[in-house]
């Protein structure tokens, strides 16, 4: 009883604070100075029409690198918690979903049709990250959704973990190498202006932003696939 009462009091207090926040909030009428300088400088200095991608892969690329490291750590820790070295998970054989319940015809046919389309869509999202909405993170997540669909349709499906880890390490190493090349050739670490900027809005433009986008997509896709595979029963 006393616990329930304290929960109600805590939620009510949070609600009061949030209500005052929501009431006193006023919409911005114009951009703040930092955002305005980003909006002005990304198309001019980097040649990228998508300002968010310019921020993510150049001005705050170090942030992105750190976050990819976090993803790698999560993939490793999921493997550590669920993987080999522990006693096998005690699911009795008649409870195992892959043996008792194979996925239905509808799911399997759907996967066969959708997996190629989803792969093409992921490639499109990754490659157009500097031109329109999209980028490495989003495309990588779409690739992982492809792997998830395969795991649902074919419970015995075994992604090639060795290939995934090699591809992921190569992408990570090339990302850091591109950063060091920016340090040597251009102004700073992860500067994308080591390749020519090209024509504004063209497919091959904006320096190394498309390259970094592809590397990021491969890395995120591989890491999320390894995480998903860790949860196989």
């Amino acid at each position: 009883m006393i616990r329930r009462l304290s929960i109600v009091v805590a939620i009510a207090a949070f609600g009061l604070i949030f209500a005052s926040l929501a009431i006193s909030y006023t919409e911005q009428q114009s951009l703040r100075p930092l955002a305005e300088s980003y909006v002005r400088r990304v198309p001019q200095e980097l040649g990228a029409p998508n300002i968010i991608t310019g921020i993510l892969l150049t001005y705050r690329a170090f942030d992105t690198l750190g976050e990819v490291a976090v993803l790698f750590m999560v993939a490793a820790s999921v493997g550590l918690v669920l993987g080999a070295g522990h006693p096998p998970r005690s699911v009795s054989s008649e409870d195992r979903p892959d043996e008792a319940w194979p996925s239905s015809e509808i799911v399997q046919s759907g996967a066969q049709i959708l997996v190629p389309l989803i792969s093409i869509f992921a490639a499109y999202i990754i490659m157009n990250g500097h031109l329109s909405a999209g980028g490495g993170f989003q495309g990588g997540a779409v690739i992982a959704s492809c792997v998830l669909l395969m795991l649902l349709a074919y419970p015995q499906y075994q992604p090639n973990l060795e290939f995934l880890s090699i591809a992921e390490s190569m992408a990570g190493a090339l990302f850091v190498l591109a950063g060091i090349a920016g340090l040597i050739v251009a102004g700073s670490f992860l500067d994308t202006r080591i390749l020519p900027l090209g024509q504004f809005g063209a497919f091959f433009s904006a320096g190394t932003i498309p390259v970094l986008s592809v590397l990021l997509g491969v890395k995120v896709g591989c890491e999320l696939s390894v995480i998903l595979d860790g949860f196989r029963p």
């Binding site: 949030f18 919409e27 911005q28 968010i52 921020i55 999921v78 993170f137 504004f200």
Partner: protein
């Protein structure tokens, strides 16, 4: 106006999430509540970046370079949320992995059964 509605939705999601964390005893429901809270914060960050009558910060045929600074929304919160969403998903994956191991050790998902680290 629109950003106030979105901001209120995000705050409500955080409230619902914290209520779920405090009242539910099933670990899976607690994880769902955590995800709700995370989604609420993402929505709030995006709402704060909205500029009145703004459009997406992508220069194309409908948005000329010269008028970009007066017509786009703040790109920084959007860039931060892209990373925050991926990290939120990763945190959920770690929580679920631990949940599987906890279920193995006690054969229950009720948080009342795990009293070792309680004082």
């Amino acid at each position: 106006m629109i950003s106030s509605i979105v901001l209120t939705t995000g705050l409500l999601l955080i409230l619902i999430g914290s209520w779920g964390i405090l009242t539910h005893r099933n670990i899976l429901r607690i994880i769902i509540s955590f995800s709700l809270m995370g989604t609420g914060t993402h929505i709030i960050i995006v709402a704060i970046g909205y500029v009145k009558n703004g459009t997406a910060p992508i220069i194309d045929r409908t948005l000329d370079l010269s008028e970009a600074t007066s017509r786009v929304v703040d790109p920084i919160p959007s860039a931060l949320v892209v990373t925050a969403i991926v990290i939120g998903m990763a945190v959920t994956a770690v929580m679920l992995a631990y949940t599987i191991r906890l279920y193995d050790s006690k054969k229950t998902l009720s948080i009342d059964a795990f009293t070792e680290s309680k004082w």
